[in-house]
């Protein structure tokens, strides 16, 4: 594909997956890593790899000799040597040494991002115990004390709980090169991968939600199950963050963020100048993986599409555990029986507790199906929580008995998923009529939202709601209205989504007024009208619309129809037994 030879500093799992992408495009990669058959080297049959530390000047120089481009799979590298190579023009360094240096030092990183007007948690540098105490006075307790260099997976962080705790934190973290950060009351941790060409052109992946256990990422959900508006905000923050990096910052970047508990504010936590754990899902779930896009970026080739090619995906990290390799194999073997699951093992020998040994990607046609699938794997992790083990046991029992229906546990899960259907009505007086639609959606496990939007009393809100519905992630809108009943048709005129209209019966005309208002739309703008006051059918129609592309809901609808038949069959039997007189 390209004659340029790439040298990579670091040969762990990130390098391995990078080499897999490079192998597909037949691009030569040489690895610098102290371990002889490190994960990356295992899948590249070459005698050009170098078995030396990626911090060694000599080794980096040796790698540069014969490579056109140098890149990194870890930021803790020797930036001075990379800068020398850049200045001597021995090879392109992507991302540039100055970018890596900036990101290496988390304090400098934050100073830079703050200068670029990005929203961050408040922070301050601490070079003495006095400064740590002053930070506590400024930020209040608890606050977080962090090492500027070399921290990862929660290592190098200390939560200072009180003034008395300050000295202990200062000492624990080595008494130098520290900074303090105000505690952010966040509801979720989000992450976005952004890839950038040498020209500065960027492409941004979807927003994911990362779930940590013991400070290590356990799970990633893509896309994050948050409101579509917030998704757009987070993607913009990540795009702005990577776009503002110094020129020459080519490659893929992971941007970690906090979603503040106010539900609207997205704050940058930190950047990784390389492929990132939160982007592994892209291998199976996106048009172009983070690794291939990193390759394209450092070779200055056109960037690939960053879009999801499946509706939902998850990534589960597989760590070493108390049972060594068995702790690793248990979730992987379970994955083999889960449709849409793909196992990645990194070829590491020692399965020490908390060591990242592999991961499993799961793809699904809906967030509900994804949850059903991930539960079967997460419960097998060696450090699974009691709740996760219970979920696994429950899923296993469901497999024997399932009729496709959604039970109370799942209904709770679905409430935390991004809505696919919006139910709107002109007034709270319509709620009794519209409530059955909500019951149906809940019964089918369809995430939905329900609110009041009035065409006549809140016309601005109606415009805003309808215009943004599809970008927020809705797939259909159910609108109920009585009398003049303008809401469904006006919403349909503002959205490209299917709109289902429920004519609500008023005090006169028996609902025929609203039926005609809703159904008799002019050519060009359809409303899918159901029977008067029959919002059950609106809910069922929404499920059928989702089912057209999503087998989870198509199968559930088929089951529902079977259940209706069975219900009537029971009545037939009862009528036969009881007789028509006494029935």
């Amino acid at each position: 594909m390209d004659k340029q030879v790439i040298g990579i500093l670091g040969g762990g799992q990130l390098g391995r997956m990078f080499i897999e992408a490079a192998g597909r495009m037949n691009v030569e990669v040489r690895v610098l890593d102290p371990t002889a058959l490190s994960p990356a080297k295992q899948i590249s049959n070459s005698d050009k790899h170098i078995d030396e530390p990626f911090t060694s000047s000599e080794a980096i120089k040796k790698l540069a000799d014969g490579c056109d481009v140098l890149t990194v799979e870890i930021e803790h590298v020797n930036c001075d040597e990379l800068a020398k190579i850049e200045s001597l023009g021995l090879a392109q360094v992507r991302p540039s040494s100055s970018t890596v240096r900036l990101i290496q030092d988390k304090y400098l990183q934050k100073v830079y991002l703050a200068e670029q007007s990005l929203a961050l948690p408040e922070f301050v540098g601490c070079d003495s115990l006095d400064e740590v105490v002053a930070a506590g006075e400024k930020f209040g307790y608890p606050f977080v004390l962090k090492c500027r260099l070399g921290a990862y997976d929660g290592r190098g962080n200390y939560v200072v709980k009180s003034k008395d705790d300050a000295a202990s934190g200062f000492k624990t973290l080595g008494e130098k090169m520290l900074y303090a950060e105000k505690f952010v009351p966040f509801t979720k941790e989000l992450a976005v991968m952004v890839v950038r060409r040498p020209s500065g052109q960027v492409a941004t992946y979807p927003v994911v939600e990362t779930i940590q256990r013991d400070n290590i990422c356990e799970l990633v959900y893509a896309p994050a199950q948050i409101d579509g508006d917030i998704r757009q905000i987070a993607m913009k923050v990540a795009t702005d963050t990577v776009s503002c990096l110094p020129s020459g910052s080519a490659g893929i970047f992971g941007v970690e963020m906090f979603l503040h508990e106010d539900g609207r504010t997205v704050l940058v936590n930190e950047i990784a100048p390389r492929p990132h754990n939160s982007g592994h899902y892209t291998i199976e779930a996106c048009h172009t993986s983070q690794f291939e896009n990193h390759l394209r970026a450092v070779l200055d080739l056109p960037l690939g599409s960053t879009e999801l090619k499946v509706p939902n995906a998850a990534m589960i990290n597989v760590l070493g555990g108390q049972n060594g390799m068995q702790s690793v194999l248990d979730p992987c073997l379970a994955s083999l029986e889960v449709p849409g699951a793909t196992v990645h093992l990194y070829g590491k020998a020692g399965a020490k507790p908390a060591r990242k040994m592999g991961h499993v990607t799961v793809v699904a046609d809906s967030a509900l199906q994804l949850r059903r699938r991930t539960d079967l794997i997460v419960g097998k992790l060696s450090n699974a929580s009691d709740e996760e083990r219970e979920r696994l046991a429950y899923r296993k029992s469901q497999e024997q008995t399932t009729d496709g229906s959604v039970n109370d546990e799942e209904k709770k899960d679905v409430k935390h998923m991004s809505p696919l259907v919006g139910i709107i009505m002109g007034s709270d007086s319509d709620l009794p009529t519209m409530r059955p639609a909500a019951h149906i959606l809940e019964q089918f496990g369809v995430p939905f939202e329900l609110t009041i939007v009035s065409a006549h009393r809140t016309p601005d809100r109606m415009f805003e709601y309808a215009r943004s519905a599809h970008t927020r992630g809705l797939k259909a809108i159910i609108a109920g209205a009585g009398g003049a009943a303008h809401l469904p048709g006006m919403v349909a005129a503002l959205t490209p989504l299917p709109v289902i209209g429920v004519p609500v019966k008023g005090r006169c005309l028996d609902g025929v007024d609203s039926l005609h208002s809703i159904v008799q739309m002019p050519r060009g703008v359809p409303v899918a009208t159901v029977a008067i006051n029959n919002s059950d059918n609106a809910g069922l129609l929404a499920v059928r619309i989702l089912g057209a592309s999503c087998p989870t809901y198509l199968d559930a609808m088929q089951n529902y129809m079977d259940d209706m038949r069975v219900g009537v069959e029971k009545k037939i039997a009862r009528l036969d037994v009881t007789g028509w007189k006494d029935y």
Copy 2:
């Protein structure tokens, strides 16, 4: 993942992609191939590979020593030696030597399959010129004379055009080990991958359509754009074919088939006992790739899901051409700019004409989008036809000017795609009312079918149509009816798909009779009702339903709505200029 070590006979591109899958699961594979850094060996850093012919008894024995399982990436191997290894219990051989031997000899393969009652083209063995001539008398001309052994990509085949041609064919093919096959008048070549565990359990991939040029596969479309009923027939034929192979036939198999021009008959052409070119699309498009499932099968691990995870996919073979490596790079470089395209290069040095150097997979949310994307790559193939080059030029021009609309060329393409929407009506007298729905779907590039289904006059047909609609691949049904208007509601009672009802105005009651019949459905079964006689809106609603999950149609609907606005704006301007009196 598994401690078993696998030895593979052959180290070309199939072995390479197999090793990629094995690398992900950290399974050790040793390659036997005469070429030192053959494609498969390049991505496996091991000193256990063997650089000897896979026909050599010695080399096979050496490979078996230290391996738990032997498998093949090519069927032209030394079966005697494999049989010896089986009988001595040195390693598992999967697929078994007897299966490989059976498939190696295409004549024996056909005899076996015919004995198992599978439908094949008529054939007869030919060991002399007299027998060739007799075959001509039996089958008529033209018929196909084939080598029993070693044939591939059209090599070893000779089309005998007349009695006079028989001697030439007999001589060309070497005068021995031949068979004759009756010419099958087929409309399409289909293929299905089937994976089988040692226990005999099988899993079947979707049906694809393969398009050959100069007897080499150029393109694969998944799923095949044929009626869903035929897809099911072809999947059953392939499943039966692989299921009937001798016990011990574990691994992945490719089944090539002909779709007879009668449109219903599917005939088996031949089997490959290994990963197959027609299954490469599975890497990006299915839950589990053919390579990973082959790995699982030969290790006797649970099989992965064979389902598509994207709506549509294509595979384009990239061959060496007159311009050597440039012929290979041209389509690959073009692919980098096509969303959903992934390049695979096999790491072969010599780009000789017709040599398989790589392939490109393309995924898309619709057959229409897939066509738009593949056209941009196929036109760059070194042996592209004039038509393919014209299509590329046309696509390039569209990129500058496109407003998302579908032009006449595309409308022709769409006619050959599997229908997503069914338009039905009770009588041909409804056609004038329903035709606008068809025009809308045509305008949006939605593949559809239109037919007469009457609830009252053809109730059996209605049941059959509605019950099979979703398994045939339809996503929505538009049903028009007048008067008592039972069709939409009855169809909705029989299918889990969304049904759109169009009330057709009769001679009395102004269509209110049909409106009420269609819209006032009982709780449990919804019909999405549009305005009386307004089948345009039914078509538009179907597009919105598809668009809910398919950006191609969502974007097109947004463009359509913009166009409506612009249309009115023009009228506003004309009214301003002309004035209300003269307008």
